[in-house]
Structures are given as structure tokens and as C-alpha cells.
């Protein structure tokens, strides 16, 4: 082994604690970075590639053909900022039946003579394009036993069954079924009104603001009311990425925190090694080591444990990324997703570089030290730094063993700063994680509005568009009578309030396919989704919509929405923006009275104080079961899979980061304790008990811990305030105050105390070592 190798090996061996600290800190940072990187790639690459290849439409715009001519629409394709356009494609929304006579979801059918064009060049995955009436091409995502090549699809009012001749993929999801233009015309009916679709690509289409401006320009170029709606590719992309995208901001936050902490700890450890090893450095130089060799030796002492940490971090990061990537994989369908190979190379390389640079600065100091000075400084007693602090603290009316400790950091300001930063970052992480967990729980509560109604009474109503709710009995349900069920609810003395509830499926101008509309009857504000803006429904003619709907269609509160179902088409005025991410964030909330073919599927009941939900449900059920109804006591939702994954991951990453912060403190205190071993030995020889020694060491970090907590909590609070809205936007929604404002004053006070706790826990081990070290040995260390 080379001389440098021997020096490095002995250095690593002598500093086991610091070696472990570096390895764990780097492992955590790399694991976070790998997961964040993997998800960033997963969230971007497949969609972007397919979209670019197909020259997907930045905006797919629906027009009312009665109000605008094809010539006028063609002119919009030549307007400023438009780089390419395609159309006109007639479209209708319709539900068909497969060969087994099963009803399909509502399909957006487009009449296109071929898959190619300036925009939206469809990938024909199987079969061929529809060449004549009677043929249909389905979106590849439908492929399965129910929809296969050669299979048929029938639509009410159309005699001829359509044969599936091809399966195609539109990255921008301009439609999900294609037929020839003639066939499309044959599908148009009073229930299936035709719209005209134009597809556009723009010079500037990177942001939703740019697309909103483009939409405004298009709307201005056609007669008022002609532009019915527009679908942005950014929303389509986000919908495809919805599994992973919201996790990216918080993983990036954790990754950056981890990286910052790694830099602090690595530079702290190497600085400590240099600072406490001055005499050793002097001896190395005296026996012939060049400055360059000394620098290499000290950098290598950091890189060896960092290398181990990096390897473990890559492994851990890949394991952590799996559950999140599987969510993304589901979003992309058959696309297989693993951590990109270059993420597994780039992150370790970057980590190695950062660690190397962090170690290089103090190592260069070791290289620059003059031999004689190094040996002399290593032997001489410490300078007088921090004496003023000892003098000041000695005057405090506290036991001397306690007041002797807090002055210690002032003797080593740089080391104290490293310790302080470790505590600050640990507290930032803990504060952020507590807020994140609180917010995710609030999201779960906000999405589980049923939990606010302790009892749900099902009317069994399945006529019209009302669909049975989960748990609803079928069979005799069709015979149920909502009025009699309502009467039973009203008659029960335990009822405090109730409202009727149903779900309809409808097509909404500007959105492809079917959207769900939740229908309310009566005083429904108690079960309303969390409001982000505007107000809740006050009567018929109004609709509350989620953020994503507003973004996707470019509408705002006060605009009208054209909603079509089998009961007809009506225009509803948007009165509120609600927090609702279900059904891709496009679920609308409206008054049941606007959907005359629907009846209440369930009554959500609030109870008077003291009434037990289970007993109430049992009582009501006994009355309404004979007429096909049912009543159940609702149990709160425990949160969806993604929320649980996020909470679990946040807890794991927080635990790791807080542990690393504690290790950072431990590293500093170990250095201090080693350096002060003589002083501690003196104190013990003078009669300082083990308990007093522990108290002295802990007191030396308690103040720093408290200051770290005081600095870290506001920073963590601010980080939460920044990251949560970004996460919300990644999921396509703004967030209500209940999700954003989750901290409470006592909680924040506890988090400040957590800063001190991190410092105390980190210092506990060296404190016990110091207390147990025999005084005679400590004195010999002189």
C-alpha cells in the first residue's frame, strides 16, 4: 500500500464516528436525489417524446358550427403565433355498446380522413385507418378483451355497427375514437350535437399563461360564443403524470435539504479532521509528504465513506422510487418505467463532486500549513477564544457545571456554525415534514366529504343518470322511492339535517369524453368540497368547478359552462372554485334541479348531538329496506394510496435527515470532547460527577439547538408555504386554506424545542463517553 493509502486508511479508521456520519449523510442526500430525479424523468420523458413526435396540438379547440364557418376557422390557423393547425374535424360525444351489449363510457368521436396532418399525427398502433363508413379506430388505451380489432361497436340511432379496424394513439388526446367524416355526420343527432374541432400549435406554448393568451386570441377571432372550449396539452400531460408529478416538488425539497446537509457535514468533518490533526499534518510534512499529497490524503478520507454512502444511496433511492414509478406507469399505460440509467450515474457523479469540493476547501488548508507551525500549533494550548463567554456565563446563577458548557461553542465559532446549520436544517426538515403530513391529512379530509355526514341513506334510485353509490344494494333498489326514504329521514328524531346527492355523467364543452357531475339537493353546504374561491351553490343554474377545469378550459368564476347529458343541454354559471381532484380534476358540482332526469341516490345525514350513527343507521334501515333503501354509518377515509406513500416517504426522509442532523451535532461534539478531554479530566479530578459531566456537554449544545430551532422553524414554515402550492399545481389544483394553514402555535413551539432535542440527542452519546472516560486516562492525554 502506498504511503498516502496508509495515511488515508489510518485516518478513516481513527475517525469511525465521522466516517459513519459522512456515509449516512451522503446516502440520504443521494437517495432523495435519485428518487426526485427518477420521478422528474418519468414525469417528463414519455409524454414529451410522444407529443413531439406526433406534433401534438398545444390547444384542441371546440367550436359551435352554427356560429362559425369553416373558412373563418381556417383563418384562425393563419393568425399570429400559430405555427400549424389542423381541422376542421367534426366531433360528437356519444356512448356506444360493445359486442356484449355493454355500455361504453362517453366517447369523443372525431371525423378524420386519415391519421396524418400538420398537427396531431396519430400513431397507428395496430390495424389501419378507417377508410369508409362502418369503420372505427379506437384509442389504443381501449385495447383489451372488450375492444379488439375486428370487434364491433354500436350507437343508438345508427343501424350499422362500426367495425374496429385500427388502434391509434394521440399523445395530446384530441379524441378517443375516430371515424370517417361521413360516418361522423351519420352519428349526429339531437342528443349528440356536433361541434367542430381545430387543433393548433403555437410558437410560444410553454406555459399555461401563453396558452390562455392564445385561447383569448382565438376566441376574439370568431363570433362571440362560437368558441365552446379548449383543451391544453399541458393539462393532458399533467393528467398523464398525475401519479408522480405532485411528489416531485417535495422530493426536490428533501433532496436539496439533504445535499445542503451533506455539504455542511462533510466540510465540517474534514475541517474537524484538519483542525484537530494539525500536529499529525505537521509530522506528515516533516517526514516528506508534499502539500499535494496531504490534500489528497484528507480529501480521500472524506471520499471513501462518501463513496459507500453514495452506493447505498443509489440502492435506497431505486427502492424508494419503485412505488411512485408504478403509479406513473399506470398513468402511461403499457409504457414500462424504471429509474433512468443516467440518473443512477449523474446523481452519484454530482454527489461525488459536491463532497469532493466540500472536502477540498479544508484539505487545502491542511496542504498550506507550514510544517513547523503545524507541529507548534498542534502542541500549544488553545488560544483565548471564548474566554469572555466563560466569564459572562460564569456569572449566571446556575450550577457551574451547567454554565461552563454553553461557552464552549464560542471557542470554535466555525465548528459551532456547522453544528448550528445542521440543527437548522434538521429543524427545517422536521417542520416541513410536520406541515406536509398535516397538509396531506387535510387533503384526505377535504376529499372525503362523506366523512362529514355520519350516516348515508341510500334511496336505491337508479333511474335517469343517477348511478348507485359504492355499497348500495342493487336488485330491488330500482323499486325504491326517494320521497319515502326522505320522509323516513325527516321523521327520525335524531336527524339534524340532510341533503340529497347523486352523480351524473355528462359531456362538458371544452373537455374530451365524459365528466362527472355531482348533484346536490337541499342544504348541501355542509357536504360541499373545500372552497378555494367564490361561493358554494345557492340554487339551480349554478355550478362549482375544480381548479383544473378552470385551467383546462380557460374559464373563470362568472363564466358559463355548457353541460350536456341525456336530459338535454344547459348552461350553468360558475360560482365557485372547489378543491376536488377526483376524475382528473374535472368533476363538476351542480344543483340536482338542473338535471331533471336524475333523482337523489342518497341522502347524507348529519345527526343531533348524542345520537350514535350506527344506531341511527340501523333504525332508518329497518324502515327503508322494505322499499329497497339502505342506511350505513360512514367511516372516515384513511387516505388514498398516493397520500399514504407520500406520508410514508416524508416520514422516512425526515427521519433520515433529522438523524443526519443529529449525527452532524454528534460529529461536532465528538471533536469538542476529544479536544477537551484534558479539561474534562481536570474537572473530574476536581470532583465533577458523571452526571455533571453529561450536563456540561449537553449544556454546550442546548443553546445552539434552541437558536437552531428558532431559525429552522420559520424556514421550514416558509418551505412548506412554497412547496405545497407547487405540489398542488403539479396535481392541477390550487389548495384551500385548510390544506395550506396546518400549523398551530403549540406545534411550532414544540418544533422549536425539537431543534434543541436534535442537538441534545446528537450530543448525548459523546456526553456519556466523556462521563465514562477515566479521569486518569484523560489527564494522561496531556
Amino acid at each position: 500500500m502506498s504511503p498516502i493509502g496508509r495515511v488515508v486508511r489510518s485516518g478513516v479508521g481513527r475517525r469511525r464516528v465521522q466516517t459513519v456520519v459522512i456515509a449516512v449523510a451522503v446516502m440520504m442526500a443521494v437517495a432523495s436525489a435519485v428518487v426526485a430525479g427518477a420521478l422528474l424523468v418519468a414525469a417528463d420523458a414519455p409524454f414529451d417524446q410522444a407529443f413531439a413526435r406526433q406534433r401534438g396540438a398545444h390547444l384542441a379547440v371546440q367550436y359551435e358550427p352554427a356560429l362559425v364557418s369553416d373558412q373563418q376557422l381556417a383563418a384562425t390557423g393563419r393568425s399570429a403565433g400559430v405555427t400549424a393547425s389542423g381541422g376542421p374535424y367534426r366531433t360528437v360525444a356519444a356512448r356506444g355498446r360493445d359486442e356484449a351489449d355493454r355500455l361504453t363510457p362517453t366517447l369523443t368521436l372525431a371525423g378524420r380522413s386519415g391519421p396524418d396532418g400538420e398537427v396531431d399525427r396519430l400513431d397507428l398502433r395496430a390495424g389501419r385507418w378507417a377508410e369508409r363508413p362502418g369503420e372505427v379506430v379506437l384509442a389504443a388505451s381501449f385495447a383489451g378483451p372488450a375492444f379488439r380489432l375486428g370487434g364491433t361497436l354500436r350507437f343508438d340511432g345508427v343501424d350499422q355497427a362500426l367495425t374496429v379496424v385500427g388502434l391509434a394513439l394521440s399523445a395530446g388526446r384530441s379524441a378517443d375514437t375516430w371515424v370517417t367524416p361521413d360516418q361522423l355526420t351519420a352519428l349526429v343527432s339531437a342528443e349528440r350535437p356536433v361541434t367542430v374541432q381545430w387543433l393548433y400549435r403555437f410558437q410560444d406554448a410553454g406555459t399555461k399563461e401563453q396558452l390562455a393568451a392564445a385561447r383569448e386570441r382565438l376566441a376574439a377571432a370568431v363570433p362571440p360564443g362560437a368558441l365552446l372550449g379548449a383543451q391544453s396539452y399541458l393539462d393532458t400531460k399533467r393528467a398523464a403524470d398525475q401519479g408522480a408529478a405532485p411528489t416531485v416538488p417535495f422530493l426536490v425539497a428533501f433532496g436539496l435539504l439533504g445535499l445542503a446537509m451533506s455539504v455542511i457535514i462533510v466540510s465540517g468533518v474534514v475541517s474537524g479532521a484538519v483542525g484537530t490533526g494539525l500536529r499529525r499534518i505537521g509530522i506528515l510534512k516533516a517526514i516528506g509528504f508534499t502539500p499535494g499529497e496531504v490534500v489528497r490524503a484528507y480529501v480521500a478520507q472524506a471520499l471513501i465513506p462518501a463513496g459507500a454512502g453514495i452506493a447505498l444511496g443509489v440502492l435506497l433511492g431505486n427502492l424508494l422510487a419503485l412505488p411512485l414509478l408504478s403509479d406513473t406507469e399506470e398513468a402511461y399505460g403499457a409504457v414500462s418505467l424504471t429509474v433512468a440509467w443516467w440518473v443512477d450515474l449523474l446523481v452519484p457523479a454530482a454527489a461525488l463532486l459536491v463532497v469532493g469540493l466540500a472536502a477540498l476547501v479544508p484539505a487545502l488548508r491542511a496542504g498550506r500549513l507550514r510544517t513547523v507551525e503545524a507541529i507548534a500549533v498542534g502542541r500549544s494550548p488553545r488560544t483565548g477564544r471564548g474566554q469572555w463567554a466563560h466569564r459572562a456565563l460564569g456569572r449566571l446563577p446556575l450550577p457551574r457545571a451547567v454554565t461552563y458548557g454553553p461557552a464552549t461553542p464560542f471557542a470554535h465559532p466555525v465548528r459551532a456554525l456547522a453544528m448550528l446549520l445542521a440543527v437548522v436544517f434538521g429543524t427545517v426538515t422536521a417542520t416541513f415534514a410536520v406541515g406536509l403530513t398535516g397538509s396531506l391529512s387535510a387533503v384526505t379530509r377535504a376529499q372525503d366529504r362523506d366523512g362529514l355526514a355520519p350516516v348515508i341513506v341510500f334511496s336505491g334510485q337508479v333511474r335517469g343518470l343517477g348511478t348507485p353509490a359504492p355499497g348500495q344494494r342493487t336488485g330491488s333498489a330500482a323499486a325504491a322511492q326517494p320521497d319515502r326514504v326522505r320522509a323516513a329521514v325527516e321523521a327520525d328524531p335524531g336527524t339534524a339535517g340532510y341533503y340529497g346527492w347523486a352523480i351524473a355523467e355528462a359531456t362538458v364543452a371544452g373537455l374530451t369524453g365524459t365528466s362527472q357531475v355531482v348533484l346536490y339537493q337541499g342544504k348541501s353546504s355542509s357536504g360541499a368540497p373545500e372552497l378555494i374561491d367564490g361561493r358554494w351553490l345557492e340554487g339551480p343554474g349554478e355550478v362549482a368547478v375544480p381548479t383544473r377545469y378552470l385551467e383546462r378550459t380557460g374559464s373563470r368564476i362568472g363564466d358559463t359552462v355548457r353541460v350536456t347529458d341525456e336530459g338535454g343541454t344547459r348552461s350553468l354559471r360558475i360560482v365557485g372554485e372547489v378543491f376536488d381532484t377526483s376524475n382528473d380534476g374535472t368533476r363538476l358540482h351542480a344543483d340536482l334541479a338542473d338535471f331533471p332526469k336524475a333523482g337523489p341516490v342518497a341522502f347524507k345525514v348529519t345527526l343531533k348531538s348524542g345520537v350514535r350513527p350506527a344506531e341511527y343507521a340501523e333504525r332508518i334501515a329497518a324502515v327503508i329496506r322494505p322499499i329497497g333503501g339502505e342506511a350505513i354509518a360512514d367511516t372516515p377515509d384513511q387516505g388514498g394510496g398516493l397520500v399514504l406513500v407520500l406520508q410514508g416517504m416524508a416520514a422516512l426522509l425526515t427521519l433520515m435527515l433529522v438523524a443526519v442532523a443529529g449525527l452532524g451535532v454528534l460529529n461536532s461534539v465528538v471533536l469538542d470532547t476529544r479536544e477537551r478531554v484534558r479539561d474534562l479530566g481536570i474537572c473530574k479530578s476536581l470532583g465533577m460527577t458523571p452526571g455533571q459531566t453529561v450536563g456540561l456537554v449537553l449544556a454546550s449544545v442546548a443553546g445552539l439547538g434552541l437558536v437552531g430551532g428558532l431559525l429552522g422553524v420559520p424556514a421550514g414554515y416558509a418551505l412548506h408555504g412554497f412547496v405545497l402550492p407547487v405540489m398542488g399545481h403539479s396535481a392541477g389544483t390550487d389548495l384551500p386554506p385548510s390544506v395550506l394553514e396546518v400549523y398551530q402555535a403549540p406545534q411550532l413551539a414544540l418544533l422549536v424545542a425539537a431543534g434543541a432535542a436534535i442537538a441534545l440527542l446528537g450530543a448525548l452519546l459523546p456526553a456519556v463517553w466523556a462521563a465514562r472516560a477515566p479521569a486518569a486516562t484523560a489527564l494522561r492525554a496531556e
Binding site: 483565548g384 474566554q387 479530566g681 481536570i682 476536581l686 470532583g687 458523571p690 455533571q692
Partner: protein
Amino acid sequence: MTQVIELSGTARRYDGAGPPALGPLDLTVAQGEALAVTGPSGSGKSTLLNLVAGLDRPTEGTVTVAGTRIDGLGERALARFRRDRIGMVFQFFNLLDDLTVTDNIQLPAQLTGTARRTAATRAGELMELLGIERHARAYPGRLSGGERQRVAVARALVNRPALLLADEPTGALDSASGEDVRALLVDLHRSGQTVVLVTHDLALAEACATRTIHLVDGQLAADTRAEALR
């Protein structure tokens, strides 16, 4: 006569298979006695001092100091024993560089919970007695070797210990300072303080001690009593 130190069959082994570093040894030191422990390097002098101070434990036999058998005490009890019964003076002073002279002297008293004012008064008395009162607010690094050793002696005496242990107290001093400390130890013994002095310096032993024991390879080679201090 009251025995301040009683060692019975006391031995300390660092290597289970090898010979003991000290003992087995039987030794008593009476109250008011000044004992010098001499011997070549590795003879067990410092080991003996550490055992009597409760800084180390014997592997065989018993150690009783000021009426307390200390070989079986836990660390906490040993620490209390040290601060109540023992004062120690080291070759290299072992003062805390961060603390002023006054703070160094007061520290053992403060560890016992003595009131701040009482400790300050006692420290002031000792500084005056030892002639270092003008350095009260100075830090040890600014003092000469002799002055530092006087501070160390003052610190050792602040709790009025039953036993003063001095480990090569003049070993790091020039001859003038050494003579100064020697005179101080003589004065302390004359005032009734029991002293155990470990030294290579036979002249110091002769000047300060009423009794000298000589250790060779951990064994008692000689035990000499002086009629009176010269």
C-alpha cells in the same frame, strides 16, 4: 493517631497475565504526615497516586482514604469523595485555560454547591495566602510556571481537603519557581495539612516530607521516616 490513607494488599494490574504495575502493597499514612513517594519511571508512583485519589481502582486489595473505603465506590460517589476530601496538584498544573485564576480556584467549591459568595471569599483568602491576588482576573496562559502552580495549589485547597496530593509539583518549573513551590508545600504541611508528594526530586522529598517511600517495579523498596523537617 488517625490514619488518612490505608492500603491493604493493594495491587493494580493493567495486564491480567503480567506482573502488577503496583503492589501488592500495605501502606498507612497518618493525619498531618507529609509522605514523599519516589522511584524511577514505571515504578508505580503515579498509579499509587491515582488509586489514593480515586482516579483509578485497584485490581486487588482495598483503599481507604479519610475513613472512606473508596475501592468499591461508583463513579459518582468517587467524584464526590474527590471534591470533598482530596486536593490535587499536577506537574503541568492542569488549569482550565478558558477560566480566570479566580474561576479556576472557585471551580471545585462550585461543584460541591458552595454558595458563590462563600466560594469567592475562600478563593480570595487563598490567593492572598499564596500571593497571587493580583492575578485574580488573569488567565492561566499569562502566568509564569510558578504562579500557575500556586493557582493549582489554591484550587486544591479551596474545599479544605483532608489530603493534598501533589504529582511532580516542581517537575515543570525552573529552579527559582521550584524553590518557591517547595517552600509553599513546607508551609502547608506545617499548618497541619496531610500531603502525599510524588517526585523524582530527592531534594524536594527531603525538604518537604516527614516520611519517604521508595518504589521499584511496583514494590515498596524502602520506607524512611525523618525526625523532623530540615
